[in-house]
Subunit: 416 residues, 2 copies
């Protein structure tokens, strides 16, 4: 089977226009989007996507989680499809590209193949996974997780939003609960194009990130307990200052992560002290350490050293310390054939590229459990995401979709 | 003039009974008191104190701030009185002794002198200063501050509580706004007995703290600004972590205070980070450094080193830092003659004692500006105060009031 020609390109203007048209649905307050999952706006976005897919000759499948599957037929009715896609839902103050680029980039592949009259042996299915963001109904990547067998359907249906509405009831209400069993689809492969949501590609001037791994994560909530006391009348040697203990542990978190440079990271984004009064020595400090690495043994090492080190610091200061693991997932190693298809595509098209590790979770991380999977990343301005100011250039979007298409159609096998 | 005899003692049981009776007014929810200033309970406490004073033969004066002055006449009508007292208002979840011991300890002096038929040349005036706590109407030590000329009457009247009620209106409402001009009283001296609100005396097994100084204070609010970024997708060298910058500054605050051991102290009780999300590098950390010392030059040195050091830390980390002085007062050096009177009293009575620096603010710190002033401290359990569990023993209260009496009547001059 031939490789796609190096001049085969998607239509960047059309992709960009579709991104802008989708962004009109569920507008934010600052130029971005608020199209949270299973809202009326989500339903409207789905309807637009369905219309576009049907106009492009696809048939739409819909499973019981509301996952959408727009199928362009292949020449071999028995060949398992190549899947491509991401998610159309957004954060409450989200951007126009997080997720959407991966779905509409998949649609743009179909439109381009139609324009050029190109057939593939394997069908191509453009997918919109329900509730990737997880802001309204936790956890994130909910429906792809059910698809991959990580969660059960009933558990997913029972997830509640802040108003007590359930995922299942809201999915029915907006009219996007299908009949199809979840996860029953054989897949030849899955490819997801996504903005980086980090600063590396832009900083290095690279067009494409070839995603080799997804970072694993451990969230360890640390509670340090000392003794509340008056900041004026308690001599320094008699203090048991939980805030100072926290400061020393935070310094240690930094050292631990740096000891596993360059891929491991560590920090605390969540920090509270009690009673949090200007003239009371903190009695308690609670903070969550976020360690990530593409290597599970590194995550385990960082957790163990955090616990040992914090214990030693606190013992020395007359403080007590407790740990709770409040979140975590294992690192993901993407399928080497799929990753190579992405790298070959970037090479063939002449786009600059580098290997990259996905720091955030994506639907691809779950789908990788049930099908050969890889991801393509494109830069985003200043690494900014989950923010209405999220931004990319049309050139970046075009390069990402070009690489996505080449990886997809090489895997789907062009029919001469 | 003779010194008081070493066998001259107050009646510790009567003092304790009065403390317990006063504590029945404005009870807390956990064994302490909620008798906040200018509430009905405050009015009830004042009425009880007035009744006791009148039963002890005193006449009550009341100024336009509601400060109460119960006068026991001296033998010389022209001699300026010796003042003794503290405050009857409490924190919302306050203890039974903070302030109250100093007022009822003063009353107990009058009762004891009456019992023993002892006269003094100078009148003795037992004082209840309005709104020492400052919880309902900030700032603390409001009415003694007006008395000492630190604040104006009109400014004090305009202070508002959380419901928008003013100090002036509430003082009238409870019926304790007098006609007497504030601050017009000549004073030979002022003595205040107070619980330590710190752990030193109990830890060292001392009966009495001879208060030589009041610590000065500087509250410096520090705002460190970095850049919000995803905890997963931002490589360590590209982070500008305001939370880590804060940790390093907190460590430095500790070192700076320890460099001025043993009297200086430093810590941050108030700490916030933004956006305070587990998977976002802190963009901003805001915290208030509380530095105290009895030496103004030490406070200035600590502030300067904090600013220089934090600037260096933040420059090195790509963070910006800003400082705001959100509170402060200068150290207080109490009157040496009054301090010596307290020390002689403890010696004469055979109580163990040590010099001590008041870490908290007290009415005496303001009155020291307009009259020779000193304080007597007694231990409190575990240094605990501003807490319903605040506790002292009857022996500690008795020793404190004994020393207070001896210092007061030595200064008021016993008439043979």
């Amino acid at each position: 089977m031939p490789a796609p020609g190096e001049n085969l390109k998607i239509n960047g203007d059309r992709l960009w226009d579709s991104l802008m048209e989708m962004a009109r649905i569920g507008p934010g307050v600052a130029g971005g989007n608020n199209r949270q999952t299973l809202t009326d706006a989500d339903g409207e976005g789905r309807a637009l996507f369905q219309r576009w897919c049907e106009e492009a000759g696809c048939t739409m499948g819909l499973d019981r989680m509301g996952n959408m599957f727009a199928r362009r037929e292949g020449t071999d009715p028995d060949a398992p499809p190549v899947y491509v896609g991401s998610h159309l839902d957004t954060q409450p103050t989200g951007g126009k590209y997080d997720g959407v680029l991966g779905v509409l980039g998949g649609l743009e592949i179909v439109r381009t193949l139609n324009d050029l009259g190109i057939s593939t042996r394997h069908p191509i299915v453009v997918t919109n996974w329900t509730n990737e963001e997880g802001t309204r109904f936790a956890p994130a990547m909910l429906a792809s997780g059910v698809f991959a067998g990580v969660h059960t359907e009933d558990w997913a249906y029972a997830r509640e939003d802040a108003e007590g509405l359930t995922f299942g009831a809201e999915l029915s209400r907006i009219g996007w609960k299908g009949d199809e069993p979840v996860g029953a689809r054989p897949m030849r492969a899955f490819f997801e194009l996504h903005i980086e949501q980090g600063p590396i590609l832009e900083a290095e001037g690279k067009d494409i990130g070839v995603v080799t791994h997804g970072q694993g994560l451990a969230w360890v909530q640390v509670t340090i307990t000392g003794k509340a006391a008056h900041t004026g009348s308690t001599p320094m040697p008699m203090r048991r200052n939980a805030g100072l203990g926290m400061a020393r542990v935070l310094e240690q978190v930094d050292r631990i992560a740096l000891s596993h440079a360059p891929d491991a990271v560590g920090a605390a984004g969540h920090i509270e002290v009690h009673p949090n009064s200007r003239n009371v020595i903190p009695e308690r400090a609670i903070f969550t350490v976020d360690f990530r690495s593409p290597d599970l043994s590194v995550i385990r090492d960082m957790e163990a050293r955090l616990k040992d080190g914090a214990k030693a610091i606190c013992d020395d200061m007359g403080l007590s310390v407790a740990f709770e693991r409040v979140g975590g997932f294992d690192p993901v190693t993407f399928d080497s054939d799929c990753v190579e298809a992405v790298r070959r595509a970037a090479e063939r098209l002449g786009y600059s590229h580098r290997n990259i590790i996905s720091g955030a979770g994506h639907d691809a991380c779950w789908i990788n459990r049930v099908a050969p999977t890889a991801m393509v990343m494109c830069p985003c301005v200043d690494g900014l995401s989950h923010n209405e100011a999220e931004d990319i250039s049309k050139d970046w979007a075009t390069a990402g979709a070009d690489v996505l298409m080449h990886a997809v159609i090489e895997t789907a096998e062009i029919v001469e």
